[in-house]
């Protein structure tokens, strides 16, 4: 088995990149791989708690909690999140908080890296 790190810079709703990244992460962890998921830029707005799951609408909270339960390490850029009004009190439990060095360290320790740019 290997380690996959995904860096995601896209917002929760919009380009479907976010949906893709979460589904790829789940498929990889289900196959026994270790997965790291890094949020920066607009993705850093996504760990907000209390997202309403509207029908036919991108939804991040439920799949994100599921990934964390499955052992995926999810980390958000603290600066980017704070800039978008997301802080440790209103964020989804289990999301780690760090800075770019976390992402770089994970990249260096990974077998595969996929960096999904923002809008």
């Amino acid at each position: 088995m290997g380690t996959l790190t995904i860096g995601l810079f896209s917002a929760l709703v919009g380009s479907m990149n976010y949906d893709f990244a979460l589904k790829l992460a789940e498929a990889a962890v289900d196959k026994g791989h270790k997965v790291n998921l890094w949020f920066s830029s607009n993705a850093a707005g996504s760990p907000l708690k209390g997202q309403k799951h509207l029908k036919d609408y991108s939804h991040g909270e439920t799949p994100l909690r599921k990934l964390i339960e499955k052992g995926v390490e999810v980390c958000t850029c603290e600066a980017c999140s704070l800039a978008r009004g997301v802080n440790k009190t209103n964020a989804i439990e289990g999301v780690q908080w760090s800075a770019m060095h976390w992402y770089l360290a994970k990249i260096h320790g990974s077998d595969r890296v996929l960096h999904i740019g923002g809008e």
Binding site: G2, L4, S15, M16, N17, F20, K23, L24, E26, A27, A28, D30, K31, H33, D111, R112, V113, L114, H115, I116, G117
Partner: protein
């Protein structure tokens, strides 16, 4: 190097892709990029498919857009997310997103 390129948009311009010359090139069509696998314009398939590469398309993204296997260009292999994970780990060591 074995390079996997995720193409997530349906843009006709393949200039960037033409400049890539890895030992092995895989073009993985996801999101709106799957339209390259099935849409013809003026009777012509996407020029992306003329590149010297292996082509793949995410089944889920094809189906959500009403593009079933019968509409797929024969050069493109449909993949599930599980297949995609295996492809990433077994076939392509470097990945880029476009």
């Amino acid at each position: 190097m074995k390079l996997g390129v995720f193409l997530s948009e349906y843009r006709a311009d393949s200039t960037i892709l033409q400049r890539l010359s890895p030992e092995k090139l895989g073009i993985i069509l996801v999101g709106n990029g799957v339209y390259h696998a099935a849409i013809k314009e003026k009777g012509q398939s996407s020029q992306i498919l003329d590149l010297k590469a292996n082509f793949y398309a995410l089944k889920e993204d094809l189906e959500t857009r009403g593009l079933d296997a019968s509409k797929l260009d024969s050069r493109v292999k449909p993949l599930s997310y599980g297949d995609l994970v295996d492809l990433i780990f077994n076939e392509y060591e470097k990945l880029i997103w476009m």
